[in-house]
Every structure is written in C-alpha cells, then in structure tokens.
C-alpha cells in the first residue's frame, strides 16, 4: 500500500471546480482546469469528426456518388482525418487526461510551469480557430497533405498548415512541461520504479512530442512557402522532389502514432491491476517497452512509402525495423493478459473498455505484419486494409483506452458517478458496432478496394453496406455514452474519494480534488500496484 500522510483525503478544502465564471477558467493556472478544458474541446472535435465519418459511410452505402459530389466526399474524409488526428487523438489523452493526472499521480501540487501550461492551451485554441477559419475553402488533400497536390490545390491549405503549426507548438510546450514535471516534482520516495505506468507512457510520449513535432512544424512552413512564394522544394520542374514531402511528413507522423497509443497503453496498465486486484505483471518490461517503442518509432517512417520509388535496399531496412516495433508492443499485451491470471476480476465500465482495448489492439497489431512485410504491403498499401488496420489500432486502441480512462477517472474529475448499467449498454453497442464497421474493411481491402474512393466498383458493395450499418450502431453507442456522462455530471451520485479501491496517489486526493491537490505532499514508500496477498 502506498504510504501517504493520511489514510483518506479530508476534502474540507474547496474542490477545484468551486470557482465560477468564465475568467476563473480562461485565466486558471490549475492543471486540472486546463486538463478539463482540453477534454471538453477535444471531445467536441471527436464528435464533429465522427459526424464526418458518418457522412462518409452514408455516401459509401452506394457505389455511385448519390448524396454528395466527389469533391464533397473528398473534403469530408480530409476533415474527418485531420480533425481526428490533429484535434482529437494527439491532444486528448496527453493534454487532457495527462494534464489532469500527472501532478496527482506523482504527488505534486501542479505541473512545473503552470503559466506555460495555460499558454499551451491558448495556443492550441488559436490553432483550432485558424483551422475553422480554413473552412472557407475546405481542404480536400487528405490529412497527409501530399505534394504536389497540396501545393496546387485551391483549398485553404496554407491557412490549415498555419493552424497545425500552432497546434504543434502547443504540443511541444505541453511535452516540455511534462518532462520537467516528471523529473522535478515527484513526491518524496517516488522513485522512477515506483512511477505509475501511465506516467511512464506520458514520459515517452512527451519525448516524442518534443523531438518529432518541430519536424512537422517545419514541413508545414515549407509547404506554405511553396504555396505562397513558389519556392519549389517539392516541385520537380523547379528541381524539387515531390517525395521529399513524404519523408518529412512521416518522420513526424509515424512517431506520432505512438503519441496517440502510448498514453492509452498507460491507462490500460492502470486499470487492469485495479479491477483484477493483482499487481501488474512485468512492471519494468512495460515501462521500458514504452521507451523502446518511442525510440524505434523514429526509425520506421519509411514503411508508409514502400511503393514511392525508394530504393529496394531502403525498403528492406525500413521493413526490418518496422517489425521490431512489434516486439515491445507484444510484450505489453502478454503482460496485461498475465496480470489477469488468478485475479479477482470485476467488469465495471473502465475494465470493459480496457479489455476491449486489448482485444481490438491485438487485431490491429496482428494485421501490422501484413503491412510490414514488403510483398504484402505492395498489395495492400493504400487499400481499405490499411484503413481497417489503423482504425483497429487508433480507434480500437487509443480511443478505447481514452474511454477506459474517462470512465475510470470520471469520479475523481467530477465528484460524481456515472450510471453503470447505461455505461455497459453503451459499451456493448460500441463493441459490436466497431467490429462490424471495421472488420469488413479488411475484407474489402484484401479484395482490392483502394482507399479515399468516393465511388467504387459494384463488387465491393456488400462489404461497404455492412460497414455502414455497423457505423450506425457504433455511433448510437457513442451517443449513449455521451448522454450517460452528461447525466452523471448533472445528477450522478456523489463519488467517494476512492470508488475503485485503487492504490495510486490520485485517489488520495478528494473527489473532485482541491485546488492544490494535496494538503500535505504524500511520502511514497511503495509502488502503486501492491494488490493481493503480501509476499510471505
């Protein structure tokens, strides 16, 4: 059991939500409020991105363009992808849950630089305002912005690039803040090997954010320069190289899939032990594999470019390295499963989502080797197989991890409980809808359906229809979940300080925590996973 000054939080101070009025939010230096603002903002973008997804699936009910023009379809998939990636998955867990939890988890009163933290939120907000501004001439380039198309397109690519540049800046600031916080503000006795695994995931994530994000910033500046001044970095008629953009882009965007997934893996590593009442199996392996994934993740960007005319040797090297990301990932999965062994498992909603994460992530992970092996990649690249693969990892993985985290920490964040029955019903819809929607895409892709197609050959009709029906079920599940959260917020039962009987530090604070988190900085004497009968 983690040694803390007092056994239970006293809760006699003012909860962090006590202050009212917009100023108390807009100028707050409290990491919990800033985290909450990020959560609200990113969740809204998740829902908008989801609406675009439903429009896509609606159009794909029929092989011909029936409801929208091809151009409209192209705009929708661009906005869907760009919003989901840049405005939702990248910021939601790190900046939202991370901001809220890191100081609580390590027994600190706030992050290292609270003003910088507030600034990073407002830079992010400026970024999304600019992105909304770009909707005057909506983007149709795909979230990957490949040149020369993006350099020529009449859409507001320059504006959007600026928006993403700002969002990247915010991401770098947050990452820096977290690295310093984790190094400097750990409570007495909180050694590196007593850090919760969520913190390890966030630490690896922050390093990627700080190292990789500048690259995408510069890339978008180059693209803007190309469009405004016609410089010709990517234009072959001016001596540029159209494929160079892809190298820059994926040098950032591959590592960034780990910014999306590592924090979610951290959440799952928190939830599984609590609801199994067993210590996490292989703590060090999970912690170090986060670092290994972050490191190897920088070396594999070329696997997005096996058919771009790179030399066969380069392809081989990238393929080889790609496979080595799979190993630390597999280790984590085995560790989670081993943690269940002989546990005392209960299935409250956080656990259901954590188990779903593992289930779907295994499917995503096992379909990775089809894409990592060169010969099958050449067949499957840019088909719906890839679409299915990354939805299983990013939505099945990251988003399920996010949902697990939201259900798990909802009592802490709001001081209220959600209705468990409704939460489970929503989960069932989401689980079924998800698999129906995305598994069929593996089949369509294997049979040759290319991605980003507004119209398709009639022979792919069956898969597409099933997938569209699945997406309606999935959407219904998500709506029920959102409704349940809102209900919980409005009239949920009051939450005790530690409803799940967890051992990590955040549960020692009141629900909701007071402004400075802890009356006394706790002293840590053990790691956070000491469940089960003590060793003899």
């Amino acid at each position: 059991m983690t040694g803390v000054g007092r056994p239970e939080a006293e809760g006699n101070g003012r909860g962090y939500l006590a202050d009212r009025g917009w100023r108390s939010w807009a100028f707050t230096l409290d990491h919990k409020r800033i985290g909450a603002m990020y959560l609200w903002t990113t969740t809204v973008f998740f829902l908008i991105g989801g609406v675009f997804a439903l429009l896509l699936r609606l159009e794909l009910l029929s092989p011909q363009a029936r409801y929208f023009s091809n151009h409209a379809y192209n705009v929708f998939f661009t906005l869907h992808g760009a919003m989901m990636i840049f405005l939702f998955v990248i910021p939601a867990i790190p900046s939202g849950l991370g901001n809220f939890l890191i100081p609580l988890h390590i027994g600190a009163r706030d992050v290292a630089f609270p003003r910088l933290n507030l600034a990073s939120y407002w830079v992010f907000a400026a970024g999304f305002l600019v992105i909304i501004g770009s909707l005057v001439a909506p983007m149709d380039t795909g979230w990957t912005f490949y040149t020369p198309y993006s350099a020529k397109s009449a859409a507001a690519v320059t504006t959007l690039s600026l928006g993403i540049f700002l969002i990247g800046m915010s991401s770098i600031l947050t990452g820096l803040n977290f690295i310093v916080t984790i190094h400097k503000l750990r409570a007495p006795g909180m050694t590196w090997h007593r850090l919760p695994l969520f913190i390890w995931g966030m630490y690896a994530t922050s390093i990627i954010q700080v190292v990789a994000t500048p690259v995408v910033g510069v890339t978008f500046l180059l693209l803007a320069a190309e469009r405004i001044f016609g410089v010709g970095f990517f234009d072959p008629t001016k001596g540029g190289d159209p494929v160079l953009f892809q190298h820059f882009f994926w040098f950032y965007s591959h590592p960034v899939v780990y910014v999306m997934i590592l924090p979610a893996m951290g959440i799952v590593s928190e939830v599984i032990p609590v609801f199994s009442r067993k210590p996490i199996f292989g703590y060090k392996a999970i912690a170090y594999s986060s670092m290994a994934i972050a490191f190897i993740g920088f070396l594999v960007w070329g696997h997005h470019m096996f058919t771009s005319g790179m030399s066969p040797l380069a392809n081989k090297i990238f393929s080889f390295l790609t496979f080595f990301v799979a190993v630390p990932t597999a280790v984590k999965v085995f560790n989670w499963i081993a943690t269940l062994y002989r546990g005392s498992i209960t299935f409250e909603s956080p656990m259901l989502y954590a188990l779903t994460f593992i289930f779907l992530f295994i499917v995503g992970g096992l379909t990775g080797p089809f894409l990592g092996a060169m010969a099958t990649n050449v067949q499957l690249h840019d088909t719906y197989f890839v679409v299915a693969h990354f939805h299983y990892t990013m939505m099945g993985g990251t988003v399920m991890g996010f949902f697990a985290g939201l259900h798990y920490w909802f009592p802490k964040m709001t001081g209220k409980m959600v209705n468990e029955k409704v939460a489970r019903a929503a989960w069932a819809l989401i689980f079924v809808g998800f698999n129906v929607t995305f598994f069929t895409m593996f089949i369509a892709g294997t049979r040759g359906m290319p991605r980003r197609y507004a119209e398709y050959l009639p022979k792919f009709q069956v898969e597409n229809t099933i997938s569209s029906i699945g997406s309606a079920v999935l959407a219904a599940g998500i709506l029920v979940m959102c409704w349940n959260f809102l209900q919980g917020l409005r009239k949920g039962a009051a939450a005790p300080a530690n409803p799940w009987r967890a051992l990590s530090l955040e549960w020692k604070a009141a629900s909701p925590p007071e402004t400075e988190n802890f009356h006394e900085i706790p002293v840590v004497t053990e790691w956070p996973y000491g469940y089960g009968t003590p060793k003899a």
């Binding site: 192209n74 198309y149 080797p369 060169m374």
Partner: protein
C-alpha cells in the same frame, strides 16, 4: 475466383504473394486465438465469485523465463515473416529479360498509355499473355498510383521521375487498374483496364496497327521521334552516337551499361538514369567528364524526354 484469400490471381507472382499472405494469416491466426483465448478465458475464469468480496489473489510480479520467451519467440517469428516478405518482394523487383514495354503517365484523371512504336491509348493497355511486361510509370501533374490488384502489385506515379513495375500476365482477360494515390476530385474515377491477349491475337492486333480501342494517332515510333529531338536539341555537339569520345560520354551501348560516377560509386544506365541525366545533368556526374551539360528540364517536354530515352535504348 473472387474469394478473400486469392481473388483471381493473374500471374505466378501473385500466387507467391498470396502464399505469403496465407502464411502471415496463419501465424497471426495462431497468436490471435492464443491471446484472445487467454484473455477471455482468464476474464471468465477469474471473475470475482462473491459480489463485494475479493477472491484471494497471489502476488505475481514477474517470471524471467516466461518473459524471455515472449520476447524471443515474437522476435523469431517477425524475422521469419520479414525474410519471406523480402524474398517475394525481391523477386518482383528483378527485371525480366525480353519484356514488352509500356509507358504509362498518370494525369488528372486518366492513364495515358504510350507504346515504344508510337501507338497511344487512354485508360487501356494491351499486352500479350505469357510474356513479361515492363511498365514505365510517370505523372504529369500530381502523384498517382498504378495498382493491379489481380497481380498484387502497385507503384506510385511521380511527376518528374520514372518508376518501374514488372509483371508477367499468365491468363488472357481484362484486369482492373486503379489509381491508389489520392489525386483530387476524380481520384476514384481514375480507372483503366489491362487487357491481356493471347499471343496470336496480340500479334494480329499489332499487325492492324493497334487500331481497335486505342486512339489512332500519328504513327511515328517513339525512338524515331527521339532521334529527331536529339539532332535538333544540340546533343550531338557533345555526345557521339558512333563509339567515339567527345566532350560527353558516348551514346552507343550506354543503355544498360554500368556507368562509373565521380566520387567512386557507379550506376546502371536505366530509363530513370537517362531521364535524370537530361533534366538534371549535375545530379550524377559521370567519371572523367566535366560537369558542363546544360539542363533540358525547361526546354524539353516530358514526351520528348521519353522519346529520347527510347532512342538511346536503340543504340546498341
């Protein structure tokens, strides 16, 4: 013909890719049932029996042997998959001898087809069965992709570059070609057919000058046009075509030879090297020759460059 694992494989290479696919699916399937099975089995078996009271749980925090094994075994498995994937890929990328050549240029939103003898067509490529075909791919505006699902291959089409793709169609028939790199509004309508004809029929079709289907255009063979361009563009003031040396390297026998470069490396003089030497002569400087050639990037349209390359290939 259209089942999931092998939807109408149209070449022997496609069969090998399918075999790789099945192998990965087999290994993946094994680990799928193993891991999901354990996940579900543990979740059910070790669920809390008495509500409100924990089962007794043991403290198990590590198991060095088990952990070593589950690092070692996945590592071996992925190396095996990598190795096999690489073998099949290498096979696909090795040039065939005696191939039929077709130039295909991606353009918003169509595939422009040019045969070395000057025939042209749009969105339709005819080739003989049982003989290797080499596609020389390029693009005139933005990136496009050239995807032959029945052959399990694709290659990006890139402005200002020539990429290559080889296949050997075994069965006559008509095969779908998709554009796979997003290229704007008409991306999903950028479709074409690869028509594989029995050899006799193909010969007959050639005989008729390839009229049916293709556009009947001017019939000047590409290499003849290339010769005209070379004479008109001043190439011959520096390059000879008869074996003698001049300011620049000799053209005869150049194609396919290994060219030593300044700096000690060397390259094979393939289509892409010839094209690059015309549009960007400074990129790879041939050993022993001064880097004085002007770039023809602005003055020579891509079609002419293509024709010149075809012409240079005839100088055996």
């Amino acid at each position: 013909m259209d089942n999931v694992l092998a939807f109408g494989a149209a070449s022997s290479q496609a069969g090998r890719v399918d075999a790789l696919f099945v192998m990965i699916a087999g290994i993946g399937g094994f680990f799928f049932f193993l891991t999901q099975g354990m996940l579900i089995y543990f979740a059910v078996k070790y669920r809390r029996r008495v509500p409100g009271r924990d089962n007794e749980t043991p403290t198990i925090t590590d198991h060095p042997l088990l952990e070593f094994l589950w690092i070692l075994i996945p590592s071996l498995v992925v190396v095996a998959i990598f190795y096999y994937g690489w073998q099949v890929y290498t096979d696909q990328r090795i040039p065939y001898a005696g191939e039929t050549e077709v130039h295909v240029t991606g353009k918003q939103w169509m595939f422009e087809v040019k045969y070395p003898d000057g025939r042209t067509a749009i969105n339709e490529i005819r080739v003989p069965a049982g003989k290797p075909v080499k596609f020389l791919l390029s693009a005139s505006d933005v990136l496009h992709g050239f995807y032959l699902p029945d052959f399990r291959v694709k290659m990006d089409m890139i402005p200002g570059r020539v990429t290559t793709l080889w296949v050997q169609p075994e069965r006559p028939g008509s095969y779908q070609i998709f554009c796979t790199v997003y290229c704007g509004t008409g991306h999903s309508n950028m479709l074409a057919q690869l028509i594989v004809m029995p050899q006799a029929e193909y010969a007959e079709w050639l005989e008729r000058g390839g009229r049916e289907g293709g556009e009947a255009g001017g019939k000047e063979p590409l290499h003849a046009r290339g010769e005209r361009v070379v004479k008109g563009a001043g190439c011959l003031s520096c390059h000879a075509v008869d074996g003698k040396g001049k300011i620049g390297p000799n053209f005869r026998g150049l194609f396919g030879s290994t060219v030593p470069l300044e700096g000690g490396t060397s390259v094979t003089a393939d289509e892409e090297f010839l094209r690059e030497s015309i549009t960007d002569p400074g990129a790879k400087v041939v050993k022993g020759y001064p880097n004085v050639m002007p770039t023809y990037k602005a003055s020579m349209p891509p079609d002419d460059v293509r024709a010149v390359v075809e012409y240079l290939k005839t100088l055996k």
